[in-house]
Structures are given as C-alpha cells and as structure tokens.
Symmetry: D4
Subunit: 225 residues, 8 copies
C-alpha cells in the first residue's frame, strides 16, 4: 500500500495508523460535500475507520446518503466504523457549564471512537463547587480527566489540585465580553498553579479526546498485559 | 477653607473629605522627594490624615525625617495620622499565594487607615483547596472579602461561590509567560460565573482596600446605629 | 432537600439560596427551549423564584406558554416569581448614552428581582456634563450607584469622584473602531483615579445588578434593624 | 542652498522651513553625542533654530559644551535659538495629574519654541473635577487646548465637551497594570463622544505642541492681519 | 429655554450650540426608528439644524416620511436644515483608495453641514504616488486637510510631510488580515514622523469632519474679520 | 498618454506598467458592479491586461456580461487578457492543507497572469511530513516557492530549511480558536529560524503570487539572455 | 499529621503527597531567603523531599548553608532529597535550539526528581531537520516526549506527527520581535494539526516535567506490575 | 563528512552549505563565551566561513582572542572568513531614519558576507520625501532593495510603488508608545498596497540580508552565465 492517496486537493495519510497508532481524522469545515464523499470513499476503500470533525448537518446528510455513517449532532462528528475497536480503561470528561457540552461531546465521541470508555460529568463548575465534590471520588478513578470550561475556565485547576492522574484542560469559547472567545479560559488554564494539567486549543474537543485516549490506552494496555 | 490647595505641580483636593467621606491619598510613584514633602506639609497644615501609596524606601526616609510618619515596607505605604480613626466592622483579605502578599498588604493597610478591622488569610489558593475550606467559616463572617491572586486568579470565583457578602477581586502581576503581568488573572476574575464579585485594576491594592472599607463602613455604620 | 437537582445536561444548585442568600440565575444563551423548560419546571417545583438572563424573544415565548413568566424585552430577562420579595434601599443606575440602556436594564431588572428599589438616570454622559450635574444630588442618595457606559467609558470615574457611596462600573460594547467591543470602556474604568469604584465584565448587567443589590441590601437591612 | 545636508548617518532636511513653515526637530534618543554635535553644527551653520527632543542630561551636557544651548530637564528638550521667534496667540496645556507634567512640558516648550504663548493648568483631573471647573473660563480663552493624561485619560473628553476650540488629546504612559503603558488612555481619547478632539501618540508631547502651535498661529496670524 | 430636553431614553443637549458653537449630532446606530423620530421632532421644535450619523437606509426612510430631511447614502448621514449655514474657508479631504470613500464622505458632509467648503481628492494613495504629487499644490491651499486611509494608512504621513497646514488622519477599516479592522492604519498614523498630524477613531468620519470644520472656521473667521 | 485616468471615485495608474513592469490590479471587494465595469472599460480602452482580485461571483457575472473576461471561482479572480504573456521559469506553490487552496489559487492565478509557470503541491503539511519529502526534489527545481498554511503555519519553515531558493510564506486564516484568523500562522512564519523566507499579509495570495512572479522572472529573464 | 503547616506567609500543603502522589514544590521567585529557609525547614521536618523552582544563585547559596541541598544552575532548581526515588520508564526531552536548554533542564530535573529516567536531545530544530530524523527512532522509545522550543515553535508539531506517544509542547521565551516573549511559539503549538500534543505555559519547564513524569510513571507502573 | 557536528548543547549543521548554498549562522545571544568558542572552533575545523549575529562586545572580545575574527560593532556581527567570497550583483539598503542604522547594518554585513555588493541609503524616510526622490534612480539599479524602518514604517510601501525589483521590508523596534516595539511598523509593511514587497521579523536584519543576497545572487548568477 502507498504511504498516501493523492486526490489532488488532498493527500490522505494512509500510513498514519502504522506510524502513529490511529487513523487520520477528516476536518470537514473547509471541504465541499463532493470532496468529503471522495475522501470517505478513499479511506473506506483503504479499509480504515473514519472520523470526521466539525461536520455540519448538511455534510452529514450527504455522507449518510453514500455510506453507512453515524452522525453525532451535538458533537458535530460523523463516523464510519469498519473495524470495531475494543474499548478499555476510562476517561472522565467534565464541564463547567451546560454551554460547554458540545465541545465536551466532541472529545467524548473521539475518545470512544479510538477505544476508550468515557464517563461524563457535566455542569459541575465552581459556582456551585459542592456538585464537583459530590462526584470527585468517582472522577478520580479515571486514567485521564478532561476539564472543559469557558468563561473563567477555573474548573481544570480545581480538579488538577485534587487528583493524581493527568488532567487535559479544554478551553471553550462560551462566554461574552472579556471571555474573548475562549482566550480568557485558555489563559486561566495555562497559568494554573496546579501542576499535572496540560492544555489544548480553544474548542478543540478532538485533540483533547485524542490525547486523553492515547494516554488512557497506554496506561490501560500495559495494565492489561 | 479653599476647595483645593494649589502647589503649582499639584492641586490638593482638600474638599474631598467633605465630598467623599475620606481624605485624598497621595500616589508617590512619579513624585520627587521634595514634592512629597511639600504635599505632606500642606495636608498636615490642613489637619488631614495622610496616606501615601507606592512609596519607595527612599521616599519614606525623606518623609520620616520631616514628619512623624509610619512606613509599611511590604505594602509600600506611608501614613501620617493626626486624627485617629475608630475601626469598625470587618474586612477579610485572602491571597492565593505568598507572592500576592505585598498587594494584599496595600489593601489591608489602606482599609485599616480608613477605619476597618482587617483579618488576613494568606496562601489559601486552589492548588490546595482544603486550606481555603479550613478557613471559610471564619472568612464568611466579614462584611466584605478581598481576594488577591495572580497567575490563574481563580481564588475570587471559588470564594464568591461560597459566601453571601460582596467579594472584591484584586488581580496581581505575580506569574510569568502567559500571566501577561496580571492580565490573565484579571480576565479570569471578570469572567467569573460567581456573581457578587467585582474587580479592580491589576496590583491596585489601594482601591481594593478603599472600596472594601467604604462598603464595610456603610454596613457597619448602619449596624451600629 | 438535595443540594442540587441533576438533569444530566445541568445540575441545578438548589442549595444556593441558603448558602449565598439568593437563588441561582439561568444563563439562557446556550440552551435549547426544551432545556429551559425543564430547568424552569425543576426550579418551580423546588419553590424558587427564577431569573433567566440573555433570553431571546423566542425562548421567552416558549417559557410563557408553560409558565406564568414575565419577559423584559429590552433587558432580555425572563422571570417567574413565586415568592414576592420586599424591595428595600435604593440603587441608582446611570448610563452615558441611549445605546447603553439594554445593559442597564439588565442590571435594573436584576436588582429589582432580588429586592432593591431602582432609580434610572439614562443618557447623562460627559459630552454634556451639565445633565449629570443636574441629577447628582438625587443620584447621591442611593446606597450604591451603577455607571453603565461604552465608548470612552468615562462616566463611572466622574461619578465616583463626586459621591461617598460605592460605584459599580459596567462597561458596554457600544461603539466602533477602537472601542474594541467594550474593551476600551473596560480599561478606562479599571484605570480610574477615582477610588471607590469596582468593575464587572463587559455587558454583564446581571452581575452589576446582583452586586449592587447585595451591597444595597446589606446596608439597608442593618439600617432597618 | 541644497535641499538637505548629507552627513551619511543623517540627511538634514534644510528645506523644511520653506516647505512646512518650521525647521526640522532632532530626535536625540537613538543618537550618539558625537552625532548630535555634528547635526547641531550643521543646522547652526545653516542658520536654523534647533529643537532637540528626548535629550538625556548627558547629551545636553555634551551639546552645551559646544553650543550656547538651553536644556529643559523636565521636558528633556534642548534648544539653540539663533533667530528669536515672536510669540502670538495662546495655547492652554492641561494635565490630569502631576505625573503627566514631563510630557506636558515637552508640549509646552515645543509650542513656545515655535512661537506660541502657553498657559499651564496642571493636576486638574476628574477625580476632583471642581479644580477643572475653577479654571475652565480661563482655559476657554486659548485658541487650542492640549489635554495630557495617563491612566483612564478622561480629561480630554470632559474638556472638549465644554469648549468651542480644538482639543488635542495627549495620552501619557503614567499608570500601571491595565494602563498598558498609555494604551488605555489612548483608547479612551480615541473613543470620546466629545467631538472636536484629536489624538497624538502616547507621550508624544512634541507633536502635541507642534500641532497646537501650528493651529494657534494660523488662527492668530489671520487675527493679526 | 432649558439646558436639555429629557425624553427619558435620551437627554438632548440643547445648550450645546451656545456652549460649543455647534448643535448636537445624533448617533443613529443604536436607536429605533421611533426614538429617532422623537429626537428629530424635539430638535426641530427647538429650531435646530440636525445631523444624524450612521443612519441606515431604513432609518432614513422613516425620518423622511415625517420631516423634510436629506439622506446621503454613501456617507450614511441624514440632515435637516432649518437655518442655512454660510460656508467659509476650505477643507481638503483625501483618500488612499476607493474603499475609503464612505468614511471620507461622512467627514465631507459633516464639514459642509457645519459650514466649510470641501474639496475631495479620492484614490491618491502611495501605491501610485504621482497621483498625489499631481494634486499637492491644490491640496495645500486648504486650511485643513483630512487624510482617510485603511490598510497601511501611509497617506497621512506623506501628506503631512509636504504641507504647512494641520492634517487630520482618519483611519478606515478597509483591508483584511493584519489590517485588524483599521488598527494597523491607526497605528501607522499615530507613529508618523511627520509632525502636525493628529488622529481620530477608526471610521470616525464625523469627528474628522467636525474637527476640520472647527479649525477651518476659526482660521477663516479671523481671516474674514 | 496621461499618467493616470481620473474616474472621480478612482484614479487608474496607467503609468504603472512602465514604472513597475506590470499593470495595476483591481481590488474588487469594496467596489460596486457599476464601478468595476467603468474601471475595466477604462483599462480595456488603454489596452491593458486586467486582473481583478477578491471578486465575488456576482461581480464576475456583471463583468462577463460586458467583457470577454475569465473568472476563477476558487481564486476569486477575474481576468481580461488583451496581450498574451509568455510564461517563463517556474514557481512552486505548496499548501499545508486543503483549506488553504483558495488562497494558494489566488497566488497561482496571479503568478500565471503575470508570466510564470506554476506547479501546485497541495495538502503536504507537517502532520504527515512524508508527503512533503516525497515531493521535495521536484519542488526544489522551482526558482521561487510559495508556502501557504494556516493554523500552526509550520510548512514554510520546514520547506525553507531544505531548499536553496527563496520561500515566500503565505499565512491563511484557516483554523479556529487561537489561530486568531491567521495571526498565529503569520507569527510562526515571521519567527522562523530558517533564513531565506519572507512573509506577506494573511490571505494575501495576490501579493505572494506577484512577488514570486517578479523574482522568478528576474531570474528566468537573465537565464534566458 | 495536620493537612497543612501554617507559617503565616505560607500554608504548606503537607497532605499533597497523599492526595496527588507527589510532594508540593516551592516557587522561589517571590520569596525572601529567610522565607525559603523556613519553608525548607518545615518540609524537612515533615520528612519530605523538596523541589524549589526559579531559584536564584543567591537563594541557593542561602539554602545550601543550612541544608544538604543540591543546586542545578542551568535549571535554576534546588532540591533536598530525604527519600530517594526509584527512577522508572523514560521521558525524552527535545529542544529546537541551544537557547531552549535552561527551560528544558528545568523539565528534566523535575522529571528526574519525581522518578523518571530522562534522555536529552538538544538543538534538533527544523532549520536542520535531518538532525531530528537522525534521532527519531531513539526518541520514539520514550513513554512521553517533551518538545521545548521558542521562536516559531514548530518542533512539537513535527515530532507529534511522527510518534505514537504523548507529546508535551513547552514554549520558551527565546526569540525577539514578533516572538512576543514566547507567545508566538505557544500559539504555534496550540494550533498544531498534529493531534496527541498538549501544551503548558511559556517557560514552565516545571509543569512539563511534572506532567511528563506523571504520565510516564502511570504507564511504567502498570508495565511493571 | 558527517551531516552535523554534535557538541551536546548544539548540533552544528555542516551539511547546510551543500543543501542550502550557504553555511549556518550562529545566533550568539543566548550562548556563553565558552560555547561560542567551541562552536567557532568546530566550524573552523570544518573549513567553513562563520557569521555570528547579535554578538555582544564582550563575546566578540572572547572570540577575537582565539580566532582571526572581525567584529562589526554597529551591526553586532562577528565573522571569520576562511574562503573569500566573490561579491556580485547589488543590494540597496535604505532606512527611514538614523535610528534604523544598526538593524540595516546587520542586513548589510550579512549580504556582503554571503556575496552581494551593497549600497547604503540611510535616513531617507517620508518626513522629507525629497531625500528619497533624490536617490531613487540610483536605488532602482539594485537587483533587490531592503527598506528598514521603525515607527510608522511607511518607507517600504513608498519605495515598492516606484520600482520594478523585489523589496524586502525590515521593520525595526525604533519608536515609543504605540510603535509597540516595532509591531506598528510591521503591520504597516504587511498591509502595504504596493505589491512586490515581502516582510521579515522585527529587527531581523540577518534574514533580510540573507534573503536579499539569495535573490540577488540568483539573478546575478544567471546574468553572469
């Protein structure tokens, strides 16, 4: 098999699963429906599972007409599964508020797609911190925790200060005024005094889910051996 | 008495105590020692108490040579008391870390100067949140709380979510990299989901202390009546 | 009664009224009509008064179909009153221009909802400062003043320099070019030389109203005792 | 005479007085003492008056050794007068605080050098606005007003709202935290609702003085005719 | 006559013409058609000329139904003239490109409304600098020059370096990418080495026109005496 | 022939081909269809080839009705060729992803219009760097390379480190969150350690194509001699 | 044992090792030598290992006088080991250039202190990418990779695209001009298309080392079982 | 010969001359004198010419003790020539003011080191644009032009509009206030309407000189064939 499939407008990285352990994902946002169909067809022919992110409802419709694909509307993710993946370990995904759920779901579906069990803890932000404390013993059992939050973005630091596993902070663009479309939450997370937390791009649920899954499986795999 | 004293380089607002309830403070940073001595002399002659902020050690020495002034080195405040003020009520001043203490002390000395009892709770940030919980019942007894924090600046929001009195958030320039000299902490505080918290300029312990004292005394005064 | 109601997508903080003195408000912006109805129903069942902010006309329609709710269109607030609150004290709400009125109304309705008498002074900005001076004696009688302004945002500092009560500065996103969607007004307010003024997030009428009410009631309550 | 004198490291614009009405000024900051002496000598030989801005004490010493120059330390300006200029009209220069005086003096000395009568009104900022009102009738008599202010920078807008002559707003870098080295004052001034005010670069007393003088003389000249 | 007319949502500054020499303008952008009609009616009843800026086509239609108003679509200005103003002097308005014309027209109509003769020099930016040189002798005859430019914004500095009258730099939001909606042009103008130029807010044709007219008339008036 | 054609709203630089070697391009974005038709007619009458950038589909339709013009939809470019240009040399245009293709095509069509042979290498970004290595020997044969990339924007630096010809980095606004509409990619490119790379404005495919063509032709011309 | 030791200016989190698995580190930068001695004594008495970051040479001298401490000058870290930790697994630490070494060493010493084997790969940035390829097979054997880079910061993304283990991107403040003290490198890293990479604060070698160690040990621990 | 020399703290890219046509330069700023001596020795042993940038006087002294090196103080460059390079073609280097000379000299020495003839045109900025016009015919004869400017940074765009060769814009950090340490000049250059100009990092004279030389030699080489 060639190392990539050249479609002219795109060069599909078919070698990635061998090199990196997971297949390439498709960023749907800047692509036409026609391009997406071509990409999905090529990956399908190559026998890959396919994950498409930032997929609009219209794009999903077009893909579902041609393929046996699943669409997760809140997460804006479309998937095509040809080789079922066994889920292992556990990733906990927490949000500060309800508004952070779409980004958290992108992380959740991604982590599940690549092989992690996921538990969701939504709307447990610091304005009512007893909700977080009520769940903390359960959250701590995960191998990795994702903390999604917009506005002040303090959830991640509070969580990281109470657990002994890695926390991936996921800033969201929820908020207004000085939230600066997620920059404020991002800065909060980068400046946290609570070590053991690392950060991804604003609204990048995909990378948060991918990274959490990668760490979770490395821990769980060895665990299982 | 005139409404202000004109020194040419400065016009001292002697009417302020009548108009606003408290005497004018002196911002020492851009002034020469000679100018400071003139200003202190004029206010002294007018019978006022005097508070000088951002006062260097050298400036303080120069003033102490001429006046019976007190210098608070950590807070960088110099005071001259001619009419002792009765302290009432209570202001709680909390910091996230040890590095925030100089700014917190500026707030504390200011609030005491203008007539508030002050209690200090230093280094109780969210990286070890049990330290905050250990003190919360005591903190809640104050009429107003000041939350000074740099870096991620999450202390204020966590505090505000647990109390029923006003919280004044005081961002400090402690940190490095993306702390952006206090801008990150400021943004965190402005974006807090915990209502009942308002914010002052980075490192502006003076205004935090002034505002806390003003609110505390308004509550306490009525209380005392 | 449990400390919170778990709706999955939201965890309602029913303990808040006991802990903080006031019930939780609902941020409508990121929620579906269906979610809002569920949240209102749950709070209604819990016997709470409910305040919904940033509520669109469509969301309000949906809620009014199910509940005996009131909608304040300019303020974009929806309320459901089950336990009438006695209004006490006085909050003065001022704006620099007409464009600031929607944000000021969010503050006003919030302060009234939580129990404050409110007086409105709109369009008294510094371009025609005699309008402000004409009203200043009346404004000074309030326990707390809110100063809402966009563009240069100078109203708060001018006001704070003339009164002996706390001023809450409320920057609005009114303006264009270098107003930077309210950042310019925010910076003006944070840098004010007039002490006794604190600041909230751009367009956050809700927090301005909540904070003003909280301070007003603490002063008025003691006053009444 | 040639249109410029070529010193290699500098090309002196000797044609400027004919083209623009005023001789070229020398920006001393990035120049060695040796270069400054060469430039002053060349302009002296050309029979020009010379104004050097941002001139350090050391640079001034070096120039005074060679030339019959005057140094204004607060303004950091050095001048060499070969053709006395008759002063006409009037420019009013106001500052918000004492810290703004050095920048205001740069404007004042520049305006005087180029031929304006200057009146100074220092420390009349809005924190004690009665000081400004006390002087307003006198200030209004000028042909042009310069308003120098740092921190919140509101002085210019308040002034412009009360007069019928042009106001040049001169932001200074006085302040800390969110003053952002003068950016906050600059934004305030650019966003002012009070029309008839224009703005120059932060700490650019030279351009404020030059522009004020230019307008003042155009008005006064015609006046005199 | 009272010093202002109180419409509740607006307080019209009827004293302005006496205090500042020109009547108040109406910023239409945030106002409803109903509010605009009320404001125009009140000013009309007071016998004023009226200038409305940032007026949409729809708003203009509504006003023209009720009043004998004129609408300048490119400038987005609506006017109602009750007392014709005699035009005097001359203001030159230049633009770098065609895209800057709407903002330049706002300045032009404003200057004409308040009493200046205006000459327009459009699309003479530095990419083809011979177009500017071709017109410079004519431009120099004006009492004041407005230089409107977006993108790099260099027109103002080049102009100011060649003339002996005041230049008002008017940055526009024309451009993309790093033009940052006019911030780049604004910064260019503020940093110009060419003294005698002052700057207004991005896209603020109104203030540029007002300020230019004010200076022009002060020069011309004395000229005429 | 005159040095420019004056259409009032535009002054067409007909001298440019003589002065700069290439005819003026038309920036369509801020122009009405009527204005575009006038401009095309004038240039056509002057016998020029015409290139219009940022041309919408609607504008293109209007021009094609009147002229024998070609429209490149992806590139948003319209052209009218009256004097066919001989293509020489070679420019390589690379993109990091598929989303960068529209900007890359603007560069490609521009370079071809002005006389360069162009080879396209799309979607060869660093996430699958073997795709780049697979093509590098071919890419290196060009006289100039354009590297278009959004998001992290690392493609240019990696390319520049492997070749001995000039690289023009072309940041695109593709991305979200901290991509800041292309600013992140721009900064990456400006900070590259790989010397021999220069940068153009975000999404400015036109200037990248123009500059690449200019360098390519200077090399090729001499080559051909 | 109490949950924390209260020194007044600091509250030492002695419970942390139990709660989080690792002892609290000391941020030396804002502390006096006297405070540091007190903190080290208290932790020593509590039987902890101690890690002090951002420790100046002078501070280290003061601590070494009292304790059997080790100082790593390049890393600016001081340690006091009372309970030797067994090193397991492997962390690879890479830098783009030589200037990034101090920050990388902070990460390296931290990871070693907490129990990881560390391999260093310095100066393998993309300007000479063959240096990276020469080492990649060795680097890939680690459980976690840290990529430290300033300026354009592209190293992390290139690395992440070639490996199947987590990459922690560590931006450094090395550079000038548009490097904006590390912000440019940070943005590059956050925007990387290469998933599986997460980011820490600029120059925060400590958190990079802590997080890498935490993940490495979780993988290695299970591995060892 | 190996592809690089591994000194541990640095990996010297000895293959670069073959791959890229020119030897690697040494960025001296973050290196100790000891490290610099080791690097120079290694390159010397490899028979390379060596260029060190941002070299302090002290570093240069240390190198001159060991090697027959030349130091250019204004440019802060140190060189060691083992294989004299024949200079060809011509690069013109222009500056707006005298303050830009150090950065321009860095570009000039670099271009000369790598084999270009360089002509310098200093202090020809737009405030006295006749100085530029006086030289333009001479400047146009170069194969490439470098335009170094700080503050408003308009020189590059004016130049590019008048010539038919590539212009490399080199922003410098000269200025104050809103010059933002060169960001304003950078933005001006990126937004220029004058096509054919590309930009390098602020104060990066090295890359400007390298890129200009690279283009110049490609043109001249073919020319010579």
């Amino acid at each position: 098999m060639d190392k990539y499939i050249d479609l002219g407008f795109a060069k599909l990285d078919t070698e990635r699963i061998k090199r990196r352990g997971y297949s390439e994902a498709v960023f749907c946002e800047c692509k036409t429906e026609e391009q997406l169909v071509k990409i999905f067809q090529a990956f399908k022919d190559a026998g890959s599972n396919i994950l498409g992110t930032r997929c609009s409802k219209e794009q999903a419709e077009a893909l579902k007409k041609q393929f046996n694909a699943d669409y997760y509307e809140t997460a804006r993710i479309v998937t095509l599964i040809q080789n079922p993946v066994q889920k292992t370990g556990e990733v906990a995904i927490c949000t500060g508020g309800s508004g952070d759920i779409p980004v958290a779901e992108e992380a959740a579906i991604t982590a599940e797609f690549y092989g992690s069990n996921v538990k969701r803890y939504y709307d447990i932000g610091i304005a009512g911190i007893h909700r977080l404390f009520d769940k903390i013993d359960e959250i701590k059992k995960a191998n990795v925790i994702i903390a999604a939050a917009g506005m002040e973005g303090a959830l991640g630091g509070v969580l990281a200060g109470m657990v002994d596993v890695p926390v991936i902070a996921l800033p969201t663009s929820v908020g207004y005024g000085t939230s600066l479309k997620g920059l404020s939450a991002l800065l909060t997370m980068l400046n946290s005094c609570a070590e053991g937390m690392t950060v991804v791009n604003i609204d990048n649920g995909y990378n948060a889910g991918y990274s959490a899954n990668q760490i979770n499986r490395l821990i769980a795999k060895r665990e299982a051996e």
